[in-house]
């Protein structure tokens, strides 16, 4: 499949060995090792908090390792800052790129090193031409003239990649780039990645999705608890093997929902319409039932959830919970009524990143926490501890800012925060995005458990196996409408995909 299986392996372009990085008393990486060759795609995998992102930040020059042997292209390297790392030919693409929204695509690519003409002024024409050439090289169709604001995350990542190439990057590091992408966008990213690999770029790829890892990469390095475990040729290992190494035990990949008695309707949505976004949405979720909301990215699933919870307004229709109408556009009223909403973007919506774990975990119950209007700090801590313990959140302390937790542990804090409200309806948007295998089945078990205790669950997920494994009923949306409702017994991947993509006339009534 790849050019890498020849007798002589390609030269090593980057080598970081025995790296140690601690933050105060927390040792994020205790013995990190990664070796990247030219022209290979190398996966770095490990559980949430294993230290992957910390390794990336060492390579990026964001963190200085306490101890490490570090070589780039055979020469000793020691980065004092991000600039040093860039100069050494390392480019890092984070899950959420940070473009300047008011500048054009081309300006973003050449920011800080714009080509100049004879008058020492910025040569816009050349900049656009170069940007267009880069996109042609990558085989993507993007307009260099347009303003970066409003571009999808996938497009923004491609711009970052174009920027990396224009700086002659020898190493491209991607930290969970696919977590927020749709299937087609992932395919496009992979095409670009393979093209770069064939040009000799070494790519380090981090993901929690094994289909992607096995489809794309040449080698896999496993980390556990901040330390290097092993490196495999992808073709010579199996998912089960690397998972065992990651977790230290074998894990059931999917945890199917356990049967639970299904009761009265909890959530009833009738004729919900927001002009231009979604229209005439009818939904019922009963107690003990998990309803999966499936569809392509952009089908309007998140928008419906936001409107139900009251973040956005809607033009028409009604929402009732246990028979009581929920006032529109009032999240506090929704929370009081017993709706919990785990949003898709935990960094911006789910958490206040600079606030402590305890404060985040209790933010949604801050009103219930108060006795006679006052919150006591010790009570707050107790409640926070109770829920973060239940979800086994890994943190150095309750007062650590939640931003210092690994991605998966942050997601657990979001769940803890909403479970603390003891809701009767849990809306959960992409519950396992960025979560490792072990935790994923834990989260599934948890959701199933909640349903077992009579909570109604509306789950939005782009991962088909997750929807099919967990949902009692699958509501498929397409272009802002419910295109089909499929029962668990009939829910096979083909049926869901057809309902998500097919033209409406072809869908059987």
């Amino acid at each position: 499949m790849t050019s890498n299986h020849e007798a002589a392996p390609a030269p090593v372009v980057l080598e970081l060995r025995n790296a140690v990085k601690s933050f105060g008393a927390v040792v994020a990486v205790s013995d990190g090792t990664i070796e990247l060759r030219e022209g290979e795609i190398h996966a770095l995998i490990g559980e949430n908090g294993a230290g992957k992102s910390t390794m990336v930040k060492i390579l990026a020059g964001v963190h200085r390792p306490d101890v490490a042997t570090f070589q780039v292209a055979g020469e000793d390297a020691s980065f004092r800052n991000v600039g040093d790392s860039k100069a050494a030919g390392i480019s890092v693409i984070y899950q959420e790129p940070t473009l300047f929204p008011d500048l054009t695509v081309a300006e973003n690519i050449f920011i800080g090193r714009q080509p100049v003409n004879r008058l020492r002024l910025i040569d816009r024409r050349r900049m656009r031409r170069d940007a267009a050439a880069l996109f042609a090289e990558l085989g993507v169709d993007l307009d260099p003239h347009r303003i970066a604001d409003g571009l999808s995350i996938a497009d923004q990542q491609l711009i970052e990649i174009a920027k990396a190439i224009s700086m002659d990057a020898r190493v491209l590091v991607m930290d969970e780039p696919t977590a927020a992408l749709s299937g087609a966008e992932v395919d496009r990213l992979f095409t670009v990645a393979r093209r770069l690999r064939d040009q000799g770029v070494g790519i380090l790829f981090i993901s929690h999705r094994f289909e992607e890892i096995f489809a794309l990469t040449d080698r896999i390095t496993v980390m556990r608890d901040g330390a290097y475990v092993s490196t495999h040729q992808t073709a010579e290992t199996t998912e089960a093997e690397v998972v065992r190494e990651m977790v230290g035990r074998s894990v059931d990949q999917l945890f199917p929902k356990e049967p639970a008695p299904i009761g009265e309707p909890v959530l009833e949505v009738t004729g919900l319409t927001r002009r231009g976004i979604f229209s005439d949405i009818n939904l019922v979720v009963r107690s003990g039932e998990i309803v999966g909301l499936a569809g392509l990215v952009g089908a309007g699933r998140t928008e419906v959830a936001r409107a139900v919870f009251g973040i956005d307004r809607y033009d028409d229709g009604s929402v009732t919970l246990n028979g009581t109408p929920i006032p529109p556009h009032d999240p506090q009223a929704s929370i009081d009524a017993g709706i919990a909403f785990v949003p898709e973007d935990r960094r911006k919506q789910g958490l206040v990143m600079d606030l402590s774990v305890a404060r985040n975990a209790t933010l949604a119950v801050r009103r219930e926490l108060a006795r006679m209007g006052l919150i006591s700090a010790s009570h707050e801590r107790e409640v926070a501890e109770e829920w973060t313990d239940r979800l086994q959140v890994k943190t150095s302390s309750q007062s650590a800012p939640v931003s210092t937790l690994s991605g998966g542990n942050q997601q657990k804090v979001v769940l803890a925060k909403w479970l603390a409200t003891e809701p009767s309806l849990l809306i959960i948007d992409e519950p396992t995005r960025g979560i490792d295998v072990g935790t994923k089945s834990e989260v599934h078990r948890l959701i199933s458990d909640l349903a077992g205790r009579g909570i109604a669950i509306l789950m939005i997920s782009s991962e088909l196996p997750e929807v099919l494994g967990m949902a009692d009923r699958v509501v498929v949306m397409r272009e802002g409408r419910v295109s089909e409702v499929i029962d668990r017994s009939d829910a096979v991947p083909e049926a869901v995909m057809r309902a998500a993509t097919a033209a409406r006339e072809e869908v059987p009534a």
Partner: protein
């Protein structure tokens, strides 16, 4: 785990130790040290007279700093506070001349403050305008209104009972009676910020409006009431100012907004929002008051006082950064030293 390093597995510090190391504790320590130094070096410093003058001096800044702390923690700012105080003062003068009773005057003054705050709140929360721009605008507007109200005149014939009340002391302690009221306001703001669901929401709001919305914080309504709060308290400060100096003028309290913001920031409130405590701010207000008073006893000119306040502010921002940098380097060196014998 690792073969070469036994990680520093020390347990997290006990809570009281954390409290002692916090920025607030440092502020309080510096305040106490300053007071002790001043008492030792300046013969006339440690006396009831000092207590009285010092506290009376800091009351306007202390008062306004309370709502300002909340506003800045929520990620906004209000620069119109001093103008609101000035407008209140001007209004008092005109009302007194027209023969209103003291009670009516105070009530109307507070209502004026409330309206000033409500206008700021409407512009910021209702129309979504940036508070920096809005309150720079109303800073000029309210000061202008003050001038229109009272002109270039000064009204100075306030009743002696009123003026002597605001400067009266509790027995021989030297503590002004109005300090009790000020303390109640400080306490109220401390409770609201640190112990209520509303306060919890403010911190969330200051860091991330979006995340705050998802837990039901009513962003617009919250901001509106914060600005109403600064308006009313600024009016209160304006009333105090007028009676203390027994002088109602349109330029009363001018420039006070910067003293307030400086004290709030020195007290550890982040200008970007989300971080800060009332204890820190109160310590900072008293610290600036003490330093200024001490220097003034030594007949140091006002220009130097401003320089000192500015320097304190800069040190308070730069100091922790330097300390952190030193600590990081130190830790790294220790770790490397422990590792080097075993690793190649």
């Amino acid at each position: 785990m690792s073969t070469i390093v036994s990680p520093e597995k020390k347990a997290a510090r006990p809570r009281w130790q954390n409290a002692l190391l916090s920025r607030d504790a440092v502020m309080v320590a510096i305040l106490i040290a300053t007071i002790i130094t001043a008492s030792a070096m300046l013969p006339r410093f440690a006396s009831p007279l000092t207590v009285g003058f010092l506290l009376i001096d800091v009351i306007p800044v202390l008062l306004i700093a309370m709502p300002m702390t909340l506003v800045i923690i929520a990620g906004e700012i209000d620069l119109s506070v001093a103008s609101t105080a000035g407008l209140t003062s001007a209004l008092m003068g005109v009302l007194w001349q027209s023969g209103q009773s003291m009670v009516t005057i105070v009530v109307l003054g507070l209502i004026a403050g409330l309206l000033c705050g409500a206008l700021n709140g409407l512009l910021v929360a209702g129309l979504g305008l940036p508070s920096l721009a809005v309150t720079i605008g109303t800073l000029a507007l309210y000061r202008g209104l003050a001038l229109v109200t009272i002109g270039d005149d000064a009204v100075a014939d306030f009743p002696v009972e009123a003026t002597s009340f605001v400067t009266s002391k509790i027995g021989a302690t030297g503590i002004p009676v109005v300090m009790i009221g000020a303390l109640l306001i400080v306490l109220a703001y401390a409770v609201v910020l640190h112990m209520t669901p509303f306060g919890r929401g403010l911190f969330a709001l200051g860091f991330s409006t979006e995340a705050a919305k998802f837990v039901g914080v009513k962003v617009d309504r919250t901001k509106f009431w914060l600005f109403v709060g600064t308006g009313v308290v600024s009016a209160l400060a304006g009333i105090f100012w007028t009676l203390r100096y027994s002088s109602a003028r349109s330029d009363n309290a001018s420039g006070l907004e910067l003293a307030v913001v400086a004290a709030v920031l020195l007290g550890g409130v982040s200008i970007f929002g989300g971080r800060g405590t009332i204890l820190g701010v109160v310590s900072a207000v008293l610290l600036i008051g003490t330093v200024n008073y001490g220097l003034r006893l030594e007949r140091v000119s006002d220009v130097v006082l401003i320089i000192v306040t500015g320097a304190l502010l800069i040190i308070s921002v730069v100091g922790p950064r330097i300390a952190e940098g030193v600590a990081t380097r130190w830790r790294g060196r220790r770790l490397r030293a422990r590792v080097s014998p075993t690793s190649s």
